[in-house]
Amino acid sequence: MTTPAGAPPAFVRQLVRDLQARQFAIGYDDLLALRSALRAGFGLASRDHFVELCVALWAKSGPEAAVVRMLLARQELAEWGEGPAAATAGTGNAAITTAGPTRPTSGPPTVPVPVETPGPAGHERLAGVPRLPVATARGLVLALQFPLTGRTVAQAIRRLRRPVRSGPATELDVEATVARRARTGVASPPVLVPRRRNLARLLLLVDRQGSMSPLHPYLDHLRDAIVHDGRLEKVWVSYLHDTPVDRADKGVLARLEGLFPRLDAVLADIAPSTRGFLFDDPELRRPRRISAVLDGIPGGVGVVVLSDTGALRGNYDPERLVASVAFARELRRRGHRLVWLNPVPRRQWAGTSAAELARHVPMFALDRLGLHRAVEALQGRPVPLERPA
């Protein structure tokens, strides 16, 4: 398929598609900027100059720069000009692109390469065996990609607002000034009030280990996005394992019947409880009593629990359910709003503890819409629940 005249070349289109798949906001203006820069003479001297030009135009932070470089490296552009890695990179390209069972049995490959970097000493190619990409100059090119980018999380969390006037008094309160002048009739200094700042706060409880072990990098990424990019005044982070409260009321449990009992019958009897431990570190080595953690945060702070609640392994655990409801009641008693965020998609909750708990406490899946709904719930919007705890 020939490229229509004036359209960007295929590797640029591929790069833009890859970047858009990673939620980079690359649009028409950005392509025009690239073309203007190329016309002005930038990025033409070598492949590395071109890569650095794309980084300068389209990346806006260190990690984004790494992603852009990685995506361009994946495309294995032919080297041109005098970049610093011209010789070895050319061999790397040849190693990957020449593959297939029909290989000439003798002689070097027909692709002209400036320098053949030797593989393991004295290696010979067997006839008919496809060439494996052994020890290329760059190796495997990988980069992390999470379902929710930091930007999406930050945009949702920033909508958690608690505007409070605090700090130095720098803003002029026009009405108060006019009122004071009118009342006293004397030239008086203006009335200053502090600016409104967003003093929203959050307690983040993260489920670690056990079924959540494969998600640890994702959880760290979410926690960092909330803490650093959410622009909240304060975020307290604690870690838990499976459930915050670890012991459920035995009397209540005894009254549950069957393999997959519902809690509706005993819901009214579950008392608020803080029996259990939260941990200060992700490796769950420094325990603190739940009551100590909750005493350390002021009232009115929203609480977010990041946990799969049995959905990852398909468990239905009545004890865990009772304990979670007890914890939710304790939080309500102290005046905190609670939301549960589940990394598993909603359609996989059926038949697990997650579906049952979602009937009693606000639980949202960890996608963009769920995150926005969770923030609205923390702001006070009523969430329809089948049997609120």
Binding site: L53, A56, A59, P190, H228, R231
Partner: protein, 322 residues
């Protein structure tokens, strides 16, 4: 909307510079329409890497601000000074405070003074025509750094603008500057004046540097207008030796030992790795206190290089072992 390219101005990172230049004085208010007074400027030595120079040239050509990121002490602020000196342009610096508003970078209107002066009646200050000053709101406008740069562009002269540590202000600050950065024009609502850089002359566009400490995330609408450059600690020992020599650390042996020690310290897992400014401070202290090159490995005066006691102990142990 793509703006016109400025193809006339490039910086050459290899060019040798005169020891001092006469450059227009930046903070004058009101800005002289022609023949501005100049002052002699002696620059701090700054060695530009080739990739940084390329990013600066891209930003100048495309007319977009250059967003500088990197660890503290790697030379983000000094880059703006160095580029302004190379091009012989006045540098307008805006140090952003957490309580600042974006409008303050353009202008401030002293409404309170005007109100007081209006009340003074016969005792009010008057201009040369005998009219009360308070009648003309233009007497109460003070321009901020970015505003001065745009006014100067309207008068036919170019400037360099440095907006330092933009992430200290809150979220609205960069968003409030979007129109001014895109179109390089602003208007003063209290007086009705309008200022703008001439659109048909891209070689007069103010060159804007924005530094970011990455403490908070900047809004995407602002970020997409910027060219990105990251200043990293150079991994070329010869380049570091030249940096030391440029900052008058004359003893070559001392310089070499200092570079070796700092590169080894940076390989350790410290809470904060020393950057270029710490390297320079330490080298200068060692030179002034006449430390022998052989004694550098023992990390004398380590407080200038490593700012936390645990890190100092770690570094001393490791360097003593090697």
């Amino acid at each position: 909307m793509p703006s016109a390219l400025d193809l006339t101005t490039r910086i050459d990172h290899k060019a040798r510079l005169p020891r001092s230049k006469r450059i227009e004085i930046a903070e004058l208010d009101p800005i002289p329409a022609a023949d501005p007074p100049t002052k002699a400027v002696t620059p701090t030595p700054y060695l530009l890497g080739q990739d940084v120079a390329e990013a600066v040239n891209i930003a100048i050509t495309l007319g977009r601000p250059l967003l500088l990121q990197g660890d503290p002490g790697c030379g983000k602020t000094q880059l703006a000074h160095a580029v302004a000196y190379r091009l012989g342009l006045p540098l307008e610096t805006a140090y952003v405070k957490s309580t600042g508003r974006a409008q303050d970078l353009l202008y401030t209107f002293d409404a309170v003074s005007r109100l007081y002066e209006a009340q003074l009646g016969d005792a009010a200050p008057r201009n040369e025509k005998g009219e009360a000053r308070s009648l003309d709101p233009r007497n109460y406008v003070r321009y901020g750094p970015f505003g001065r740069a745009i006014v100067r562009a309207g008068l036919g002269r170019r400037s360099v603008v440095l907006i330092d540590e933009i992430d200290k202000a809150d979220l609205d600050f960069p968003n409030d500057l979007l129109r001014e950065i895109e179109r390089l024009e602003f208007d003063i609502s209290e007086t009705g004046q309008q200022f703008g850089a001439p659109t048909d002359r891209p070689e007069l566009r103010p060159i804007i540097f924005v530094t970011n400490n990455e403490e908070k995330a900047l809004p995407p609408a602002f970020l997409r207008r910027c060219i990105f450059a990251e200043l990293r600690f150079p991994d070329d020992d010869a380049f570091l030796a030249r940096v030391l020599a440029a900052h008058s650390v004359a003893d070559r042996k001392l310089g070499k030992e200092v570079v070796r020690a700092v590169v080894d310290v940076r390989r350790l897992d410290l809470s904060r790795k020393p950057g270029i400014s710490e390297l320079l401070d330490w080298a200068r202290i060692l030179q002034v206190t006449k430390v022998e090159p052989g004694a550098v490995r023992g990390l004398p005066a380590a407080g200038a290089l490593i700012k936390s006691p645990q890190d100092q102990d770690t570094a001393r142990q490791v360097l003593a072992g090697t």
